[in-house]
């Protein structure tokens, strides 16, 4: 508890000092207001957009998309990665192809996707899911491969079937890497989502900051960026971390 307060109070001091310096700079520097709006303008932008209902809608849209990608990543990406980890033959066959496509980022696909799927929801979802997929798949594969053979042998000598070994050894043994893959995938996916929303321009936080730029609403851009960062911190801290705590940390499989 002491350590927690130490970290929290340190951050409060740093943030306060930073905001004070920013306010001072905005008030004194010889630049137009749209170049460097003061923190107060960002805050009033937050209040305004919240009361108008735009901000909750945009946040809701972005969160809905990333959570959908998380679900698809978990239920499609993880099984694919596990299969590749279990079957060396399938992995040898699929690996070069996967490697090729993972290097072509979801954002690089966007121009083509816009032609194929149009300026809409479909393009955003496909681009984000594409980005989430690869870290999830590769880490699940790595997770299976890093399970010590001794656990597999122990279960074989207990008379376990292949399926039993997958269920009782390979999947739980791969969980630390799966958790890392999902976390990484969603972090990449979150960035890709913002980029896709900027290009597609329908709604969401990416659209909000891009649209604000057209009207020189710099405070709104800053607000959007701050929310993008803050949402991720919250998502990671309150959703992904507790998940880890309840499983692999409980089993002593990650160092804290």
């Amino acid at each position: 508890m002491g350590r927690y307060w130490e970290i929290a109070s340190t951050w409060i001091i740093i943030l306060t000092a930073g905001i004070a310096a920013w306010s001072l700079a905005a008030a004194t520097l010889p630049v137009p207001a749209y170049f460097l709006p003061p923190p107060a303008a960002v805050l009033s932008g937050f209040v305004e957009l919240t009361t108008k209902g735009m901000l909750p809608t945009y946040i809701g849209e972005s969160l809905r998309r990333i959570l959908l990608a998380a679900v698809i990543g978990l239920f499609v990406g993880v099984p694919i990665g596990l299969t590749l980890g279990i079957s060396r033959r399938i992995a040898d066959f699929a690996y070069p192809v996967l490697n090729f496509f993972q290097s072509v980022s979801g954002i690089a696909w966007l121009p083509l996707m816009l032609v194929w799927f149009g300026f809409g929801e479909r393009t955003i979802l496909i681009a984000v899911n594409y980005t989430v997929f690869f870290p999830v798949i590769f880490n699940a594969l790595l997770g299976v491969r890093s399970v010590p053979q001794i656990y597999v042998n122990a279960l074989r000598t207990l008379g376990a079937s292949r399926w039993r070994i997958v269920r009782d050894v390979l999947v739980p043994g791969a969980l630390p890497n799966i958790a890392m893959g999902v976390r990484l995938g969603l972090a990449y996916g979150w960035r890709a989502l913002i980029a896709a929303e900027i290009l597609v321009g329908a709604n969401g936080l990416g659209f909000m900051i891009f649209n604000a730029q057209a009207f020189h609403l710099t405070a709104r851009i800053m607000l959007g960026m701050a929310i993008i960062g803050a949402l991720w911190v919250i998502l990671d801290y309150f959703l992904l971390r507790p998940l880890e705590e309840a499983t692999i940390a409980r089993w002593g499989m990650v160092q804290r």
Binding site: N153, L155, R156, T157, S161, P172, W251
Partner: protein
Amino acid sequence: MTAKITIRGLGHEYVNPFTRERVLALDGVDLDVEEGEFLTVVGPSGCGKTTLLNILAGLLPKSRGTVLLDGREVTGPGPDRGVVFQEFAIMPWRTVEKNIAHGLEIQRIPREKRAAIVRRFVELVGLRGFERKYPHELSGGMKQRVAVARTLAANPEVMLMDEPFASVDSQTRITLQEELNAIAQATRKTILFVTHNVEEAVFLGDRCCVLSGRPGRVKALVPVKIPRERRRWKLLMSDATFDAAKEQVFGLVREEVNVGREG
């Protein structure tokens, strides 16, 4: 007495994947393990002790010869041969009781019966109060107790043990050896126990099988005629039978180590 395990002309050859060299690990091993016997296997390092055990476990294919359990050829791993590994091969994601129940789950023993069996073996290996702990919360000695309990709970025909006490501290090892002796006495299981520790081999074995240096062969079988109830370190401190057997086995192993040096 009938032989539980019959090994005839067993050989194992493997190819070093880097040098492509063919290495003969075991050659012409003949060995019988009697029903209810505690047989210990010692030999210099690299003599193929673990290879022998892995072939018996069905984890490694043999190159030639026959290995029979109750007259049936061993072809792969099976629940009739329980194995305790050196590296505490218990699942970190299962609690103590879940680990001990693992073999029973695989055998589809109903939940209530499973719980009763687990309780009995938790008791036997002295882990009461630790049932809900995860392996990372246990000491090395306790982890190995879990592994022994898991193997015994699955009720195998024979228990194969591969240097199970090599990675625990010497104080714990002494305790575990005495506990295993008591378990052997109580359960009358057929046990094949591989170790490089001569004292341990003599302390635990009804007979002590000395393997020659590579390629491993059975060099000698030394009987240790000490009743189970007398096998406690305090009682054996100055026991003529124990000392004589120990001397004999030491001598046999030393010969092999020296041969290895000259060769």
